[in-house]
């Protein structure tokens, strides 16, 4: 069921070409009018109107947009008036005007629902993309200094274990690099927290334990 609803949403919200939209709306309107004529010929009177209403809804769904939907409704209303009343008197009787207004409202409503759905899907896609981008950037920005920390710490270890006398300058160089990378990671975490607690970042900034540790160590 979920698969069907997902496929239906994708189908309704995809962006067809202008040519496809208008041609499909006209084709559906003609099909609905033909169906009306056939039903009238067969003498199945009760289904006549249903064929047209379905034609309007289908036209609005397939045409996906106010323009094709309105064109479709107008054509069906004209066809309906032609078969039920008299040619040339389409807008001259209350019932024919009523049909036209009803179909226009119906197709407008369907188009409006589709546009809302399309907007919702678009927002969801933007949100998913933004989330992906944030994860990608944060992941990169965290792993970069993390990589530097690992390398420098291992190098420090190797240097200290490998030589009897290690120049202090070398040890300081590695530790300084580790500290710098730690500060970078701390900054990213702070930025993330500030983002999560939007509006309260002033309380967070400068008070993190890790930041104090870095400052104290430096001093």
């Amino acid at each position: 069921m979920t698969g069907f609803s997902e496929r239906f949403t994708q189908w309704v919200t995809r962006e067809p070409s202008e040519v496809f939209r208008y041609f499909s709306a006209i084709a559906i309107a003609i099909a609905a009018i033909a169906m009306t004529a056939l039903l009238k010929h067969l003498g199945v009177g009760g289904w006549l109107y249903i064929a047209d209403v379905l034609g309007v809804i289908l036209g609005a769904l397939v045409g996906r947009g106010y323009g094709p939907a309105l064109l479709n409704s107008t054509l069906i209303a004209l066809g309906l008036c032609f078969f039920f009343i008299q040619p040339g008197r389409v807008l001259s009787t209350p019932s024919s005007v009523g049909n036209l207004i009803l179909f226009l409202l119906l197709s407008g409503a369907v188009s409006w629902i589709i546009s809302l759905l399309r907007e919702a899907v678009k927002l969801e896609r933007i949100s998913a993309n933004s989330k992906d981008q944030v994860i990608s950037v944060v992941s990169h920005d965290l792993k970069d200094p993390m990589g530097a920390t690992v390398l420098n710490a291992q190098l420090l270890e190797k240097t200290l274990l490998g030589q009897e006398t290690v120049p202090v300058s070398k040890v300081l160089k590695y530790s300084e690099s580790i500290l710098r990378s730690g500060e970078q990671m701390d900054q990213i975490v702070q930025d993330l927290l500030a983002g999560v607690h939007a509006g309260t970042d002033s309380r967070i900034k400068g008070t993190s334990p890790s930041r104090k540790v870095f400052t104290n160590f430096r001093e």
Binding site: S136, S139, L142, K143, G147, T149, V150, L151, L155, S177
Partner: protein, 131 residues
């Protein structure tokens, strides 16, 4: 002893790599981005390039692409991509190099990949030629 070119804008990564490789007996040159990297290749072809992906001025993949375009022997230099980028595997696929390491990595892991690249010398075969 090999001539190694490290192209990375993060000095905290490039510097320890230089130390490690010098300890292994290699000669190391460093560049801060792709443009500096190309200049450095111009000075003398290195035996191998250790290339970061995201850098200012010219990214790693762009630099690799330019090496291919020039088509004067530069394209025969093996490239090891080193990056914290999430989709490093696909980037390496586009660059056409089998050698890549995602940060963070240990010294042992780095040396393993580096040595493999140096021994096998499989040079990049990009999937998409530069436009």
């Amino acid at each position: 002893m090999s001539d190694v070119l490290i192209v990375d804008d993060n000095i905290d990564i490039a510097e320890p790599l230089r130390q490690i490789l010098e300890m292994e007996g290699h000669q190391v040159r460093m560049a801060g981005d792709g443009l500096e990297g190309l200049d450095s290749v111009e000075d003398a072809f290195p035996d191998i390039i250790l290339l970061d992906v995201e850098m200012p001025s010219l990214s790693g993949p762009e630099m690799a692409k330019r090496l291919q375009v020039l088509n004067t022997g530069r394209e025969k230099i093996p490239i090891v991509l080193l990056s914290a980028t999430r989709d490093l595997r696909s980037i390496a696929g586009r660059v056409g190099t089998p050698y890549y390491l995602e940060k963070p990595y240990s010294i042992d892991r780095f040396l393993m990949v580096f040595q493999a690249a140096l021994n096998d010398r499989i040079y990049p075969k990009p999937k998409e030629k530069a436009a």
